[in-house]
């Protein structure tokens, strides 16, 4: 089923009082692609993420994920349906260890409960062991295997970003939303990140939608891009088309007259 639409939003609008943060958003993200959502600050990109993941209920419009309507579902149900996300300002569980952070993401797929833990049932011991092993594998996949027992808040910035992705992967998503993954990274780190995002898409069979300001990253890995300005979609298409779109140039980087790529 590669290539069909996995996430479709139809005419989704989000109003906060009199302010329309997002107007008539219609995304159609194809399965297995890496898509981008760009736009100037305050364009409504994160609001889109919050609507897709259930943190906001859209004022109007519907969101369909993998054939199932998810509009207005609470975040934990959206997550269970297979949509995971990271946050623009990294939100790890700072007092917990790196491994525990990933295990928290894993709890969704856990079958035994804490009562089994109290009773030491064989099923619990088996699942707990398997879960730890799986989470360590995920940490290895993001290059954090050595830091498993460190406190999450003690990690370096880039490592925290990768941990947040590992934690999201632990929920076994088929769709991953990355909110500014390259924020605060130097060119070399951004370069590594692009490779990393491509790898996890391959290894975990993901579709990825990302918000990013770093044009080099956006143009480098996104196969399809939507451009928002003041909540309105002003352009969509392949990176080359977006790069040359006069509306985008005007709205996004008007004075400079072009996108640096």
């Amino acid at each position: 089923m590669a290539g069909d639409v996995i996430l479709a939003t139809s005419d989704v609008t989000m109003r906060f009082g009199g302010l329309a943060a997002v107007t008539d958003l219609s995304l159609a993200v194809r399965r297995g692609t890496i898509a981008g959502l760009i736009g100037p600050n305050g364009a409504g990109k994160t609001t889109c993420f919050n609507m897709i993941t259930g943190f906001y209920k859209p004022t109007t419009g519907t969101i369909v994920f993998d054939g199932q309507e998810v509009t207005g579902l609470p975040p934990h149900k959206v997550c269970k349906a297979g949509i995971a996300r990271t946050f623009q300002n990294i939100r790890l569980f700072g007092n917990e260890t790196v491994l525990e952070n990933v295990m928290i993401g894993r709890h969704l797929r856990q079958k035994t409960s804490w009562i089994d833990a109290v009773l030491f049932t064989p099923g619990y011991l088996r699942e707990d062991k398997a879960m730890r092993a799986h989470c360590l594998e995920l940490l290895a996949a993001v290059g954090l295997a050595d830091a498993a027992d460190e406190k999450a808040s003690s990690l370096a910035y880039g490592a925290q970003r990768r941990l947040e992705i590992a934690r999201a992967l632990a929920t076994e998503p088929s769709f991953l939303l990355l909110d500014e993954p390259a924020a605060g990274m130097n060119p070399q780190e951004s370069e590594d990140l692009m490779g990393f995002v491509r790898t996890i898409r391959q290894d975990f069979d993901l579709t990825i939608l990302l918000i990013e300001h770093d044009m080099k990253v956006v143009m480098g890995i996104c196969e399809h891009i939507w451009v928002l300005d003041y909540g309105v979609t002003i352009a969509e298409g392949a990176p080359e088309a977006i790069r040359r779109d006069p509306k985008v140039i005007l709205a996004y980087l008007g004075e400079e007259g072009g996108l640096h790529a």
Partner: protein
């Protein structure tokens, strides 16, 4: 360290505790044994509050309410029908209250279960509230329980309360329940469910994004906490042999909160240490309430002075060591060994 070793060390520790209790029972006077009993009960209560407040981040001030429920239910069940016949002077007890009778273990369990059920019931609306509002609402809940106890004489004997409750709660029962409480809460917190509770405390929005049904887990923590608060209340009733509504004022919750904060929000070993320390200090500080002879001047004793000292101590903790004795750290066998081997080197 392997799990097998830890299990053995834990069993050795429990056996050592048993040996100590056996010695204490034979050699200590009644006053010291009473303090030991209070230590066990205070630890149970503080552990349950730490689960709710320290590990899940739910600012709950309703502990006295859950304790009252446990205390009343247990007392009704362990007093004999004849005894209750004599006790209910104001109005005769309901028939089911009059006739209910159960062994101590069942009575304590029932006290805990009813407290848990009521905890789940009030948690349903209350846990949707945020931090401070939850504190105020749970405080209100505890007051409601107290007022109800005062005004349902056919169930609680009103303001007179119960006297002559059988004193089954000896060292073995109290420390037995203390070990059970510690075991269950440690296992709960070490399981992935414990990680989820801590995640809710650290960042609720991120927990929701990770698929955590935040409300369900808050309710779980609150209910388990209420259960052990009810158990603690039940044991306390049987230890003191008298209960009345005035006993379950906010000061009772405050004492427990003091232990939790002093030990460290989010540290079970801290709670155990602070439970021992503060219970002992509360007794030891009775000295400050005695009259003092100062160079020939006789200063009269002030009743309640030790609570002033304790409130000051709590203010000091919050000002100078907000994370308490242990912060969020725990004492493990490993860390103990490290300390000892460093001492030898």
């Amino acid at each position: 360290m392997r799990r097998g070793q830890t299990v053995i060390l834990n069993l050795v520790a429990v056996a050592a505790l048993g040996g100590f209790l056996w010695l204490a029972e034979g050699n200590f006077d009644g006053y010291k044994i009473q303090i030991l009993n209070l230590i066990a009960i205070n630890i149970i209560l503080a552990l349950s509050l730490n689960l709710i407040y320290g590990f899940t981040g739910l600012f709950s001030l309703g502990h006295a309410g859950f304790m009252a429920i446990g205390a009343y239910i247990c007392s009704i069940l362990i007093m004999s029908p004849d005894q209750k016949d004599m006790l209910f002077l104001l109005e005769p007890a309901y028939d089911w209250v009059q006739n209910a009778h159960a062994p101590f273990l069942v009575a304590v369990l029932a006290g805990g279960l009813v407290a848990a059920a009521i905890g789940a019931l009030v948690g349903f609306p209350l846990l949707r509230l945020g931090d401070d509002y939850l504190g105020i609402a749970t405080l209100g809940f505890a007051e409601i329980i107290r007022v109800l106890a005062n005004n349902f004489p056919r169930l609680t004997n009103g303001a007179l309360g119960f006297k002559g409750i059988p004193d089954y709660a000896n060292l073995w029962w109290n420390f037995g329940w203390c070990v059970v409480t510690l075991y269950v809460i440690v296992r709960l917190l070490k399981s992935n469910t414990g990680n989820v509770l801590k995640a809710i405390r650290d960042d609720e929005a991120a927990a929701r994004a990770m698929g955590v049904n935040v409300f369900r887990y808050k309710l779980l923590s609150f209910t388990v906490g209420a259960f052990f608060a009810g158990v603690g209340g039940a044991l306390l009733a049987s230890l003191l042999t008298t209960i009345d509504p005035k006993m379950f004022l906010f000061t009772l919750t405050f004492n427990i909160l003091m232990i939790v904060v002093a030990g460290g929000l989010g540290s079970l070993s801290g709670t155990v240490m602070a439970g021992i320390g503060i219970t002992v200090l509360l007794e030891w500080l009775r000295v400050v309430e005695n009259p003092v002879d100062l160079f020939g001047y006789e200063l009269p004793g002030v009743p309640g002075m030790r609570m002033v000292v304790f409130s000051l101590a709590l203010i000091m903790i919050i000002l100078f060591r907000r994370e308490g004795l242990m912060g969020m750290r725990e004492l493990h066998w490993q860390s103990l060994f490290k300390v000892f081997s460093r001492g030898r080197a």
